[in-house]
Symmetry: C2
Subunit: 439 residues, 2 copies
């Protein structure tokens, strides 16, 4: 069978990992694909570094190994797109820019399969990309875009085609989880934990996308499309990060036998998708509470087969590269891969806050008799059932106590707090913190 | 595209689950397959029960819903095998008998795809079945045969084709894990826990295959073939069960921050596959130690992407059925599915005991000064490094103490014990118990 030719655009950590696996495992990969697989060309602005790091022959780089200007690189990319011997393009440049967007579309229009780890591009501008792949009968491989090495795309797209996904909850950002783990297990404060994450190479110099829930949101958006057939507007997805989590919150969670985790959550409820990225208190009997460090873990609950967990390395060069290579082998073997999980549906995306969760609400109040009664009465008046009330601290000046509720909506809680404010304007010394509990 | 016709042979718990999903999700499954999927025929000796339980129309059953004699059923099966409108046969009869074996081969020779949950058949007589599938260009789908709903076959066969599996450790028998969990978490003894498992419907009236490691061994044999390309003789796989685990062992494991689990283990070592099914002490920082009840969990360690865990329902009608339906949809969509993980290799299967593990060895001895020195000296003389020594009990009559070693082989331990026996014939009051530690 004809050799399956591959080009890599962008040879950084992940791209060079792909090149390394293709070169190291070439003959086995060809066996697995039932046809020869060959890495034909790499485009990168500064080839020498990745060549040295991963032993990639310089002559595989367009330009023979010399540094390229952006214009030269674009020229070579255009050549690759019209090269009859390239069957599949690996996009490991990253970002959501117009140029890259058009490169992906042009490659597909030239009947090249495209494999990418670019979660931001797929989440923010994916619609046209998915559509172009379909129109041109080529594969869009994106296993690497969600949770690195964890084969969660394959599980949902193919493993669960005999079932119906009902709910997804996952730890999908390694940096945030590393920080929360440090805070929980070693008592570190947020700022120091963030610095440790940067030192360990998990967090970027500008960690905003990671700790704000943005990166996790990209991944959740991709999974929602796949699992529920709903292409969401990324900007409409509610994303909260971990910036406001304090050690006190984590200690309080611990007292309630919970860990605080940044949870990507999506559930199908009566024709709507309730989704959000936000910190949740995860009960210790849920495996997600036990996932520490930069590891990713996704929980999927299905109609027939119940609860599943998928856990593994969420990032890293070789780890992410292995997912890209799996997409390459599969495409070489089976031809075009179609998203056969769930065809697109008309479903409304709503903030998960609009749906019922059990909540933990922490109140900071003046410490005086009658406060508990006043607060719990206001909560009861909103038809919220209370599970437990526990005082964390009271010293005659200030009291901190938390109320764990049975399932209710965020709006009910807001209404209860408004009542407390109205009836006793001086009582609350801080804005109450309500955090959903994941069981 | 032509309708994809399905026949189900054997409509018990799993078979009727398949029928139910095919009927309930028919139109979605056809969308996912990009062609109409239709359940055409079911053969079962007593249709009424499964018809009633899962609302399966009686006219789908060969014979119109009346009970069949074995001869009548065979006749209908022969008709199905020569039926041009049946593209895929679901085998949910079970067992390893000659008749069923020939039915599977005949269906494939008649160019029918076959999907099965029959781990015993594949592990014990699979070689001819895999080969016949390949020769006839048909799919052999067997996702349901290993760990029920957990898509571990797909992960290894396709998810990890860009990588190299180095090690597999898994909890693959729900009954054994249910029993061990009861013993660990509720202090139940083995016999009572087994009775509870039978009452809860996890264990058969004759639970031998489950608690002896035989069922787990079937699954491990299938995964070894897929992950390492080694078709083993099932009878050559070392299988130990949980029959000899006592509460005392579990308490001792607990003191060492471990749980005892029945572990399916396989590792590639220099051209050999070291494999066994046996109870191991799993360190609590390994997720496998936290898997309780009838849940299954498989840990896979890969060269590039490191450590993965897959966890979910290991058995159950709808759960296992969902895996079968996923294989059906995939085959309907992509045509023949080839085992593209690793082509078969010449590799030697060896008992994992021949390779090095850290061990915990429990000694029961007379309680007198000098015993610790004598035992540890004998261990040291076999070049085994000792990690910890701890006394569990000593009362001037008898001492029970355990030695945790650094990695060594079972043979070294046997030699050390032989030395102790030779030098101090009266010292050991029981045969020492050595159990490998999984980290």
């Amino acid at each position: 069978m004809k050799t399956f030719g591959i080009a890599i655009l962008g040879c950084g950590t992940v791209g060079s990992g792909v090149a390394k696996i293709l070169l190291d495992m070439g003959s086995v990969l060809s066996e697995r694909s039932a046809r020869p697989i060959e890495l034909r060309k790499i485009v990168d602005l500064s080839p020498k570094k990745s060549s040295e790091k991963n032993n990639i022959p310089l002559d595989l780089f367009c330009g023979g190994g010399k540094d390229l200007t952006p214009d030269e690189a674009s020229g070579y990319i255009s050549e690759i797109i019209s090269d009859k011997d390239v069957d599949l393009v690996v996009e490991t440049i990253g970002g959501t820019g117009d140029y890259l967007f058009s490169v992906i579309l042009d490659a597909m229009k030239a009947k090249k399969h495209v494999v990418t780890a670019n979660k931001a591009m797929l989440a923010e501008r994916g619609s046209a990309i998915y559509q172009t792949a379909q129109e041109n009968g080529v594969t869009l491989g994106y296993e690497a875009s969600v949770c690195g090495a964890v084969p969660i795309i394959k599980a949902i797209r193919e493993g669960f085609t005999g079932d119906e996904v009902q709910e997804i909850s996952g730890i999908m950002n390694g940096t945030s989880n590393y920080i929360l783990s440090k805070m929980e297990l070693e008592g570190t404060d947020f700022k120091s934990a963030l610095k440790m994450a940067q030192k360990a190479g998990y967090a970027e110099a500008d960690p905003t996308l990671d700790i704000s829930g943005g990166d996790a949101g990209h991944k959740l958006a991709i999974l929602i499309r796949l699992a529920f057939g709903k292409e969401i507007e990324y900007k409409n997805l509610r994303k909260e990060g971990i910036q406001d989590i304090e050690r006190e919150d984590i200690e309080l969670a611990n007292e309630m036998d919970c860990s605080i985790k940044l949870i990507c959550y999506a559930r199908k409820v009566e024709g709507r998708i309730a989704a959000s990225v936000k910190p949740m208190m995860v009960k210790r009997n849920n495996l997600l509470s036990k996932v520490h460090g930069a590891t990713n873990c996704v929980e999927v609950i299905n109609k027939y087969s119940g609860r599943h967990y998928f856990m593994g390395a969420g990032a890293g060069g070789p780890e992410t590269a292995s997912s890209i290579v799996a997409d390459i082998v599969f495409t070489a073997r089976y031809g075009t891969v179609v998203d056969n999980s769930t065809p697109l549906r008309q479903l409304e995306l709503v903030d998960a806050d609009q749906f019922e969760f059990p909540y933990n609400i922490t109140f900071s109040t003046a410490d005086r008799p009658g406060v508990t009664g006043l607060v719990t009465t206001a909560i009861g008046a909103q038809k919220i059932n209370i599970d437990t009330v526990s005082h964390n601290r009271h010293n005659r000046k200030e009291a901190v106590f938390s109320v764990a509720t049975m399932p209710c909506t965020m709006q009910q809680i807001k209404d209860a707090v408004a009542t407390i404010r109205k009836d006793s304007p001086e009582l609350l010394t801080e804005e109450p913190k309500a955090i959903p509990i994941l069981q």
